[in-house]
């Protein structure tokens, strides 16, 4: 069952002498939908994901915070104090850190999650092989995790989360080490979770989020600059040129606008072009 995420005027400071990492951030992600958090490094994207999964509440005792976070039926004021796995799964920005380091094969690493959750008895092999195949890493099942390439490691880290079938899946810049073909595959995987799992994905680029997300949220210096549909984002693209790499996109949008019937029509065309597999 997918859970709704509701963040209400949530603020966070890592310490009393440090600037606000998040300031009055509000967010509503309907169950089973996909929300993309965009923004430059330091905008607060990772901090927000860490708040949702419980890392912040658990590992930053000296921090200052206010507001509230709801995940499904549970309300945390202001934030979860324990790791919410397996209800909430997070794939870290640096996937190397995520792997256990104590398992010798890719298969065993995924099995490790199931063992920890006590679900390994339920036809583990079939489920793991199916998942590895969906992620395109079944041929690596018997490889040592430390010998994988960057993009392969990313997908293994994702597999260790997906096998737990979380209600909420948080992905921190999942595309940064992936080639275009694998990004396409990841898009299919996230699409296939639609309705079952609520997904929040961060990115510093817009191509992947625009092709995938139901909702775009732009963060800058801990504040929400924009929240709306991908189409509305495209229509206001100039507003974000200082915080996102948009130069080429604007050129394309202007090109489309000239060859069609103005900006709104161009935004539709661009959305359609991006949605192609």
């Amino acid at each position: 069952m997918a859970a709704r995420i509701l963040v209400d005027r949530f603020s966070f400071q890592y310490g009393p002498d440090l600037p606000s990492a998040l300031a009055e951030v509000s967010l509503d992600v309907p169950p089973g939908s996909c929300c993309a958090l965009l923004g430059p490094t330091g905008a607060g994207k990772t901090t927000l994901l860490h708040a949702l999964v419980g890392i912040l509440g658990r590992h930053h005792p000296g921090s200052l915070h206010s507001g509230s976070i709801c995940i499904g039926k549970r309300t945390f004021t202001p934030l979860p104090r324990d790791i919410l796995f397996p209800e909430v799964g997070l794939v870290l920005q640096d996937p190397y850190v995520q792997l256990s380091g104590v398992r010798d094969t890719v298969y065993d690493e995924v099995l490790f999650t199931m063992e920890n959750l006590g679900t390994a008895a339920e036809n583990a092999e079939t489920r793991i092989v199916k998942l590895l195949r969906e992620l395109g890493i079944d041929h690596l099942a018997f490889r040592q995790p430390s010998t994988l390439s960057g993009g392969e490691t990313q997908r293994l880290a994702l597999a260790t989360m997906l096998i737990a079938a979380p209600e909420v899946l948080l992905l921190d810049e999942p595309t940064s080490a992936l080639d275009t073909a694998v990004i396409g595959r990841l898009r299919q995987i996230i699409k296939s979770l639609q309705g079952r799992t609520t997904v929040v994905v961060t990115d510093t680029h817009i191509e992947f989020p625009l092709a995938l997300a139901d909702q775009i949220v732009v963060l800058h210096q801990g504040r929400v600059l924009f929240s709306g549909s991908p189409r509305d984002f495209i229509l206001r693209i100039e507003d974000f040129e200082n915080v996102l790499p948009l130069h080429g996109w604007r050129e394309v949008l202007d090109g489309l606008a000239r060859s069609s019937m103005g900006r709104p029509h161009a935004a539709d065309l661009l959305g359609k072009a991006l949605a192609e597999p």
């Binding site: 390439s149 960057g150 080639d179 275009t180 510093t204």
Partner: protein, 250 residues
Amino acid sequence: MRIEFQNVHFAYKPRVPVLSDISFDLETGDLLLILGQNGAGKSTLLKLLNGILKPTGGSILVAGCDTATHSTAALARHVCVTFQNPADQLFASMVRREIEFAPRNLKRRDAGKLAEEALSLCELDPVALRHPYDLPPAQRKVLTVASAIASGSSFLAFDEPSAGLSQLERRILDKVIGSLRANERGLLVVSHDLELFLPYASKVLLLHQGTLVFLGEPQELLRREEILEAAGLKLPALMRLKKDLGIALL
């Protein structure tokens, strides 16, 4: 000065080839963009440059030194390789020290100046006294690039230097690559980021399952998109849209 790969083969395990029969050469002043799917052998190729890995067949000459018979320390004078994951590489307790390490270690006469220039080119002066691990991941990545530049080596190899960078650091990296090209350094860049690196590339090398399937100019690759597709890659959506609209890509 040049780098020459002659019929290079490499396998981590016998009978499981990772790279097969790779030949190319590169002069200082060139930028070779290395493309390929995840697991195609790109990072392995970079590790062969400075002798971390030795070829299991063929030969690699770096500024005339055969990597099979020269130590990594000796090869480092000519080529500096950065890793995909900054954590594999950073070890000093201060950004400035991290950048000074390579030129001092290589006993470059102008070590201080090299470090200072790299620091300012990569716009890291404001964080020069910070601990590398206190920097956000993207800035840490820029730091690995700065450390390589400071080495003073004629050839620099970067593994996915723009991965995880936001607009701010991309702008810096863009400027840095431009400046390195103008200064006649030889660059090898492994990246999926065609938008950033293709305009700077003098040559593109495309790997597919460990074999070289294309070696040529960027314009030729753009004309023959089917080559990319055969290697399991495609142009990023933005470049495809530009192409459709007749906007210049390079």
